[in-house]
Symmetry: D2
Subunit: 359 residues, 4 copies
């Protein structure tokens, strides 16, 4: 079994890692780390509110009994010597400091954005750009690390990049316009979105999100050219909003393709999309990466976010657009805290284990 440590284990993303690894066939949780305040306590103590005795467990799934007695280490002094991999669930500013420290010795798979835009760092989505993993060798060599850092994309990028991939392969893409209606869970809990602000409302701005989506989509759909990634050439323009939905980002997408294509062609290439290298056989992978509905009332976040345990991207309302050149429009729902966060990162780990980057 691969021994994994989780940094940021008491937060919501850390807890999602614990859920994603429960009963995992290849990976076991061997260490947990969090802030100094939690250090030295059992995991259960660390997530128990001292005043009220309430358990601060934030996942819809029940608390994972197996980790409750495990000790929590101080993240800044974490002993990673016995680990094979570190899952990082910390904020970006902390990640800037801690992740390179861990990566000097061990592979780090991160949900933070700190290193996503570095030239020698791939943003991996297994099945979409698995071949970008080659950049890991460049990174190791250039930085003199035994380990490496591979971040996953921003949760809003994930579903967009996945659904664009078969279109890009089959028809080419000139440009993408997207409006997102993002779930509350994407904002986390510190404090995330306050109930007072979102009830009967929409928040029309998510700081930094739109820039991330454009940059990451181009990088993920880019090609490796002489040991670096040449980003895809099309532009992505988006408006990202927050709506009163618990989980599951909904995106309204308009695409201009290079070759003309019919609605049925787009539905077909999405449905048939299988990834580049048998990724569907990985333990956490969805059997179908993309599910396409004919029912015009789908996808809906509440009904579709959990498809394939939150690992599939669900698409509907594929139609012609009459504004863009060879315009196609559709909606997608993507589970932002499953495929878009911890479980997506575990899937990356599975790919890298299978392909020999982690051992």
């Amino acid at each position: 079994m691969i021994k994994a440590g989780i940094v940021g284990a008491t937060g919501i993303v850390g807890q999602q890692f614990i859920v994603a690894l429960k009963g995992h066939p290849w990976i076991e949780i061997a260490a947990l780390a969090a802030s100094e305040r939690s250090a030295g306590r059992s995991y259960k103590e660390a997530i128990t509110d001292a005043q009220t005795g309430a358990l601060r467990w934030f996942c819809q799934e029940p608390p994972v009994e197996e980790v409750m007695a495990m000790p929590v280490q101080n993240a800044t002094e974490m002993d990673i010597s016995a680990l094979d991999i570190v899952f990082s669930a910390i904020e970006s500013d902390q990640a800037k400091i801690l992740e390179p420290k861990f990566a000097a010795d061990k592979p780090v798979i991160s949900t933070a954005s700190a290193f996503r835009y570095d030239e020698d760092v791939p943003i991996l989505i297994p099945g979409i750009n698995s071949e970008h993993a080659k950049l890991i060798d460049v990174q190791r060599k250039g930085r003199g690390w035994k380990g490496f850092i591979t971040p996953i994309p921003n949760c809003t990028t994930t579903g967009l990049a996945i659904t664009l991939k078969p279109i890009y392969e089959s028809f080419g893409i000139n440009a993408v316009i997207m409006t997102s209606m993002q779930a509350l869970s994407g904002a986390g809990r510190s404090p995330g979105v306050i109930g007072l602000d979102i009830l009967d409302n929409i928040i029309p701005y998510i700081v930094g999100e739109e820039e991330k989506v454009q940059r990451e989509t181009q990088k993920i759909l880019g090609k490796i050219v002489s040991s670096s990634i040449s980003p895809a050439k099309f532009n992505v323009s988006c408006t990202c909003t927050r709506v009163n939905v618990r989980e599951g980002h909904t995106e309204s997408v308009f695409v201009s393709t290079q070759k003309a294509c019919e609605v049925n062609d787009v539905a077909r290439v999405m449905r048939e999309y299988r990834g580049s290298a048998n990724e569907a056989e990985l333990p956490s992978a969805p059997k179908r990466m993309i599910i396409v509905h004919e029912d015009p009332f789908r996808p809906q976040p509440r009904l579709d976010r959990d498809a394939e345990d939150g690992m599939a991207t669900v698409v509907g309302r594929i139609r012609k657009d009459n504004v863009l050149k060879n315009g196609i429009k559709y909606l997608l729902v993507s589970h932002n805290t499953k495929m878009g966060a911890a479980k997506g990162a575990v899937l990356v780990a599975e790919l890298l284990i299978r392909d020999g980057y982690i051992a």
Copy 2:
């Protein structure tokens, strides 16, 4: 005082007409009509639930005491001889039958879509296309009516057409892409959107809505050429969704302009937009047709829908778009049941009274 009748007076739109006309300086309610079931009862009886005694009053504003004792007539046999104008708040299939009957004698201002797309019927938004009122003469003559029919636009068209107008005038428009996040009130109450379906959810489809928005926007921004409207030439592509917001449609708009323009130019022409013919002096008109926010977290439907008593369109996040030619993007919030429904229809009546079409 102009004497008005309201057809469909017991429904939610009818009640909004009653609220919009309460204390009106020019218009008084002189007759109410509804289905056969209500006919012959007082308005209060007609909206009182027999079983529970509950008042079926659906507006946020308190019930209007002045109409409670008024008799309700049967819409199909309504006596309009003493009226100067009929406000129609009925469904489209009924409107097809009843509105021409009324229009043979009297001016009819309607929230229904039944006649919106007829060649000799203008879709009026005072201040945006007031000059289309000229088509009324063509209509009267062609149909041999003493009265006429002027429908208001679909509530999703209203805010879009209003915000596009100053851009169109100043810079020209090549194309528009829009994703709407529409409020529950837009779906009415028969039964409208069920709570079970929208809680923690988005409905990605509103039957017929997208076609209406494209067609109406082009017609509203079109020009009168030899006694008919030549629609604006740009295409409008949209995706319309329903979100868990009570009132106020939010729209994410991407515009390609003919002349290049800066963000500040767009903000300026929107802020300075005053309409073509002193419409701001009409009793129900907003002082500012468009309010532009600099705060990137605006507009929000809950905070902005009631601006100028729901008659202003509120815009924010005007930015460059890097996909469309001379691309500009922004968000808007428009009150779908004030400017977008009954009170917007009352504003049309005011324009037509002032300009001599109703007397």
Copy 3:
């Protein structure tokens, strides 16, 4: 296998029966019936919207493929000759007419209230009052039926009666005061609660609900005395409200007990409660009928409604009350459309099959 028919199969409760019986070890679905409109079509056709092609499937669980090709019969002419049992998911006024017709020949288990208050009709909750099944013989004899009718309780009664039972057994009960905060799904979809009415709101009245809870609780906790039920003697006073929660009724309960008891005693008798006759071994039964939390922030409907697949009642905040004699207060969450509806009715069927009332 026991062959079951479902009447009202296209509605939400009917669909919940289909889900509850999917893969059932003892019972298979052998017939489906609904209104005349659906008769003669396949189940899939019957629940497909003709205009949009959308599937009108209302459960959170995916549609059950096994029934899609089954024919739907007209409920009023349903052929039940080959069935062993009929599950009735129809409205009460229809149930009054159809259920006796079916019961003349076959056992009918119903979610409707039509016969709940008849003297010879038990309202069964397996594990709480299984012994009331004896009344079936009285009913058959008295009415000259080969079959019988056993309704389940109102969904708000279920969790209350279950949690009161161990208190009643161990300490006796003088009186109960309860305020409910009920989920939207309890109101069904015809049209149920409109989104506009419940967003940012509470509806303080549910027609007929409070009377049902008092009467049913007394009957369920009553004793069989010479072939009829002598209701429990304590009064139940409640106020039932509707809140913006999708599933899971929350109830705030205050109980006056006959013997004084401590908080720990109440928690213990609830936790240890196992039912009267090995009901936990029935296929749909929860392993624990009542789950008691120490965490004062539990139970919460979203976190606790699905405990034991919605078949457990979850209790928290057991405290002393200083107003009632020997006062105890607590909150409970009960899944109103699992234990409180179709799956609860299937559990009744299992009890009656095991105990020889159905064969």
Copy 4:
């Protein structure tokens, strides 16, 4: 004009004070104070987010232009020499330190709980226990202060105490049982209730709330006996929950009265209740303290919270209860951030100004 200072002016309660005092006929805002971080800046600067330029204004009412240029002082060093009164909108732990400092010189009216339970401190609700103001003299004398402290009640106590008062006067009270369904705004914004936690949910526990309601209700309805308050003798047992409503606490109340009374009697004494000393003539006072609905679907928080600008308590569903001795039950809605917070505190100031305690 009475010159008022607001301490905690940048928080949500501080902003509600600013709104409540806008255009006040007797009181003008003369000083604002907040944390050290805000000190030395204009109010507008202090509530503007440096990163995004967004205005952190939390009230539904628009920002009050008149205060935007006013300087914000450091609360711990606030100069109160020119003030006639201090409104305190700070947290309880801070209030413990700062309020006595201010009270040494000036009258302090506070929304904090810090001093509510001190023997010489009245918890005033004008019209309910105005005569408790006499305790101010005892307080001043005992503490050697020129000023004094008068806190308002917890927002959940307010509506309960108001509706119990006419019952208590007319029929006497033996005991009260109450379940509250409280709005999000009652939890404030630091961070208050997170959207993720309350969507599709109820939180069954509010730390400390239940104890406050019991204690404060008894004190408010108590009598002054030889210079201290003798609390009302009846017990109050409650369960306080949080629901997904923005503003307006709903309470389900069960009361045992000493004298038997009919539903109509209770409705009448509530409707006729006018307070003890012409409080309705105070500028912020509601014309009707209690509004009683016959419609069984009222009160609803969204429809009734704003009655009399949030200063009336709205009651409905008055019925007999069959559990308590002379039992009566009803529901109430009370605006927790108008009558229950800042505007309620301004009303206290008005009473004390009129009666000569502030000058």
